[in-house]
Amino acid sequence: MLKINNLHAVVEGKEILKGIDLEVKAGEIHAIMGPNGSGKSTLASVLAGNPKFEVTGGSVQFEGKDLLEMQPEDRAREGLFLSFQYPVEIPGVSMVNFMRAAINEQRKYKNEPPVSAGDFLKLMRDKRELLGMDSQLVSRSVNEGFSGGEKKRNEIFQMAILDPKLSILDETDSGLDIDALRVVAAGVNKLHTVENATLVITHYQRLLDYIKPDKVHVLYAGKIVKSGEADLALELEKRGYDWLANA
């Protein structure tokens, strides 16, 4: 599904990604761990197409297509979803209008007619219940006045609505208390199928107690320095990252 080959990226003239290789197949959950500043969020941003980051080398194939050639909106329409580390507040744009516009743009891309009002409301209600979200949140402006936890929950809610092929969860666990973490993780697990894939970015092992990864990768100073099975996360929790830096 996703094939990253020797990816290099810079932000404000500084090279952050120094040659990333990674392959994610349908049905898999991968976790990317690493200390602060190792390039985890940069990788997520580059994959989503954030114009602040400049790709200086390498390639990314998504479902056989050249991802780096695509505009951010086309990446989303092709089925890539980024759960933002810092979801943006957008006063004046209601969640309902936002989601309706997003769904309809994706449908238009696939030459499908706009979603009917009835189907849309049902979808919103079903996914809201899945994430245990307050109905009030959905009627408000996008993320405006949401608590940190509500924002993260709202990201997964949007993911549930848009039903992407590949979800990138960028530090979705930060800012969540343990109860919210359980609900969000349960939501992610329910949405997971053999046909989609998830890339979980985190620097704590905690989230991986709830979302079981098939593969764990350690990102350090812009490179993946180690890959392994789920138990690698436990080892990292015990030993930290330093032993890998020196490895």
């Binding site: 989503a48 197409g49 954030n50 114009p51 505009q71 951010p72 909106e73 990446r75 989303a76 329409r77 980024l82 933002f84 979801p87 943006v88 507040e89 957008i90 006063p91 004046g92 744009v93 209008n97 936002f98 516009a101 997003a102 743009e105 994706q106 891309y109 402006s141 996008v142 949007q158 848009l162």
Partner: protein
């Protein structure tokens, strides 16, 4: 200012001074005594101060005198038009049911249309008729708060205004159904239009008025408008202005509002499409626990110009004022905002809030903004906020990351930016209508063909 320019402005003014002296008889003959008796004083003032020019600090970015430097016709003899506004404007918005009135240039257009019955004692209609029917009420209000001593535009308007529109609500009366006034500009030649609006809300009354400006013909129009609002104790007055004029229109509006105890006045102005606009506001809070809410929204592109000058005067304690002005400027348009707040010495416990937010969506657009707070009481809550910037790039990326195309995402953010001004409006159906008009405006779908955009 260069000396030659000063002389030029004097010459422009002199034309109108001569015109008035020459046609004084016609001006009076086609108006009413109540309006005529104010002309002498206005004439003296106008001769003395003339039109505002950019030499004056308060008009720094709007050289109003320049607009009159043209061969403008005035219809002083009230030559009738062969036009029925009802043919051009059929209002059939399903949810916006209003009592509809028209001003055709500066005259009240007497319609045959049946209006929904108004509560007893309420007068809505021609200023000339009102001045004859209620001479004492008229005398007590007309030109009483529209101070011309430092405002040449008001003096000029008082000099030439011959008719206008009056809403009079006697005490303990509530006008439930919104009133709608459509101000139409028509003419084959370049025209100067001078119109008056008078809103008198006596004690314990409620009234809502929507005023829409429309220029139908392609001629150039220079319009002066003077509005006086009297909100007596516990009166609630809503005035919503919507400007949808051609680029050939210069709108020079001066609005005066005087409020007594516990009154609540809301005025919003939405410049959906315009040419050159200057809106002066002077709100005076004269009775305790009065509230004034003032909103302005300007959507400009091409070389459009919108200048809002708001003066909020807190004369007594315990009043509240809230101002929210927003501008979205595209292409080579210009926005100007000046917000003066005066809290007088004894006006303790005043709450006065002012916000001005501007979006410059093009490198050629210009915004000039100036807050001015003068506070002479020590126990007050006052604030002002001013920001001018571009679209939030993080928000733009967030929308795109959900599959929304860049152009659409920009439009969504611009529409979102207008939302809080529209939300000040206390008529649900009008609010919804405006949201859709604003959306169409941004999408370039607002066809200006003489049809009422509110009504169609």
């Amino acid at each position: 200012m260069k000396r030659s320019l000063q002389i030029e402005y004097k010459m422009i003014e002199q034309q109108y001074i001569d015109l008035f002296e020459q046609y004084r008889h016609d001006v009076d003959a086609h108006s009413v005594p109540g309006m005529n008796k104010e002309r002498d004083a206005a004439f003296e003032t106008f001769k003395k101060i003339g039109f505002p020019t950019s030499k004056q600090e308060d008009y720094k970015h709007s050289n109003v005198a320049r607009a009159f430097d043209a061969d403008l016709g005035l219809n002083l003899r009230n030559v009738p038009f062969s036009v029925n506004p009802y043919d051009a404007f059929k209002c059939d918005v399903p949810n916006l049911s209003t009592n509809l009135y028209f001003l055709l240039n500066d005259r009240y257009y007497d319609t045959v249309e049946q209006h929904h019955a108004l509560p007893e004692g309420v007068f809505v209609g021609s200023m000339q008729e009102f001045s004859k029917k209620y001479p004492q009420v008229f005398e007590a209000h007309y030109a009483r708060i529209a101070d011309s001593s430092d405002n040449g535009l008001v003096a000029y308007n008082t000099l030439f205004a011959q008719d206008g529109f009056v809403v009079y609500v006697p005490k303990n009366t509530s006008v439930e159904k919104p009133l709608q006034l459509i101000q139409i500009l028509r003419g084959q030649a370049d025209t100067n239009v001078n119109r008056r609006l008078l809103i008198i809300a006596e004690e314990n009354t409620q009234v809502k008025l929507l005023v829409c400006d429309h220029a139908v013909d392609a001629a150039r129009f220079v319009v002066t408008q003077v509005t006086e609002i009297f909100a007596e104790a516990s009166a609630q007055v809503d005035l919503y202005e919507l400007e949808d004029n051609s680029e050939q229109v210069t709108r020079l509006s001066s609005l005066f509002s005087a409020q007594k105890d516990q009154s609540n006045v809301i005025v919003t102005n939405i410049a959906l499409h315009n040419g050159y606009t200057r809106n002066n506001y002077r709100f005076r809070l004269l009775g305790e626990h009065a509230e004034a809410h003032v909103g302005g929204l300007a959507l400009c592109d091409k070389q459009q110009h919108v200048d809002n000058f708001a003066f909020l005067d807190h004369a007594v304690p315990n009043c509240m004022s809230n101002e929210l002005f927003k501008y979205i400027l595209q292409e080579q348009s210009t926005g100007v905002f000046c917000g003066k707040i005066l809290v007088e010495k004894d006006a303790q416990k005043t709450q006065a809030y002012q916000t001005n937010r501007n979006l410059c969506a093009s490198p050629d657009a210009r915004m000039y903004s100036k807050p001015e707070l003068e506070i002479y009481a020590d126990d007050v809550k006052c604030s002002h906020g001013l920001t001018t910037g571009q679209l939030d790039l993080d928000a733009l990326f967030y929308l795109r990351a959900r599959g929304i195309g860049e152009d659409e995402a920009r439009l969504m953010l611009m529409e979102a930016f207008t939302r809080d001004v529209v939300e000040m409006i206390r008529i649900d159906s009008l609010r919804e209508r405006l949201e859709s008009l604003i959306s169409k405006r941004f999408r370039g779908q607002l066809v200006r063909c003489g049809n009422c955009n509110v009504c169609k």
